[in-house]
């Protein structure tokens, strides 16, 4: 079957190598014995060509085109993206300045901080009504 594909030119280089190895063995089926001599000749020629091709492949493929390098590069890029996104998110999660005024979200820093001051003032003013806060301040500060 492989021999048939070989003659149709459908075999890959690896398959051709496999085919040559089969014909170099001693258990070639009787009906394929007729091709054995030819295959051995082709194998001898092919071995030289493959040897040259292998050397060229080794020499010519730049490092950035090698699969291993591509995987490393992809992993580095992925780590940088994830790391950057995480850092950005962590920074944002540590910073918050927002008010919801009767359901309306307000992010204007001045408005929010003004509301904060007003709220703090209202609570602080309640100190005048009794001495609770004074007592707690003395206890914890």
């Amino acid at each position: 079957m492989l021999t048939e594909r070989f003659f149709y030119g459908d075999t890959t280089i690896e398959e051709e190598r496999e085919l040559y190895r089969l014909y170099q063995g001693h258990d070639v089926p009787q009906d394929l014995q007729a091709y054995r001599e030819m295959m051995l000749d082709l194998a001898a020629i092919g071995a030289e060509e493959y040897s040259i091709m292998d050397k060229q492949e080794t020499i010519d493929i730049p490092i950035w085109r090698r699969p291993f390098f591509r995987w490393i590069a992809a992993a580095v890029v992925a780590l940088l993206v994830i790391g950057g996104a995480t850092t950005l998110f962590m920074h944002n999660s540590e910073e918050e300045c927002v008010a919801y005024i009767y359901g309306q979200k307000v992010t204007d820093h001045n408005v929010v901080m003004n509301e904060l001051s007003q709220t703090a003032m209202s609570m602080a003013n309640s100190r005048g009504d009794d001495d609770i806060a004074q007592q707690l301040d003395e206890m914890f500060n």
Partner: protein, 136 residues
């Protein structure tokens, strides 16, 4: 990591029963003014987190809020909190156990139906900080 951070932001009052009030489960958020500040804006006050609510409550809500506050005060040492109550006002000031160097404080004030709640965290979280924040 992002999920954990979200939870940290959302659950600063975790462990307190009053958390459900901050989460809008007692009084709808459409009826209140909520302020939430965290980070550099508070550094000058020695705080890391400030969360406040301001709203007018209804009788049913008042009962639920007071129930939550009572639960939060239960079992705490007397020196950690003070309450005061009269016809016009009801106040609760609770100093929560610190988390490392971070002090935590819950302040609650009712004046008739007007309610003000503040939860704050930071190395200097105290009543003095409130005065400082109000520019008195």
């Amino acid at each position: 990591m992002m999920l954990v951070s979200c939870q940290m932001v959302a659950l600063a009052q975790k462990g307190l029963h009053i958390e459900s009030l901050f989460a809008g489960k007692v009084v709808p958020q459409e009826r209140m003014v909520e302020t939430r500040v965290r980070g550099r804006s508070l550094s000058k006050y020695g705080l890391t987190y400030f969360h406040s609510l301001r709203f007018s409550m209804k009788d049913k809500e008042q009962k639920e809020i007071r129930r939550l506050l009572k639960q939060d005060l239960e079992g705490r040492p007397e020196q950690d909190y003070e309450t005061s109550s009269d016809y016009e006002n009801y106040k609760v000031f609770l100093q929560l156990p610190p988390q490392g160097t971070t002090k935590r404080m819950l302040c609650y004030r009712e004046h008739y139906e007007q309610v003000l709640v503040i939860y704050m965290e930071g190395p200097e979280a105290s009543f003095k900080t409130l005065e400082k924040m109000s520019n008195k």
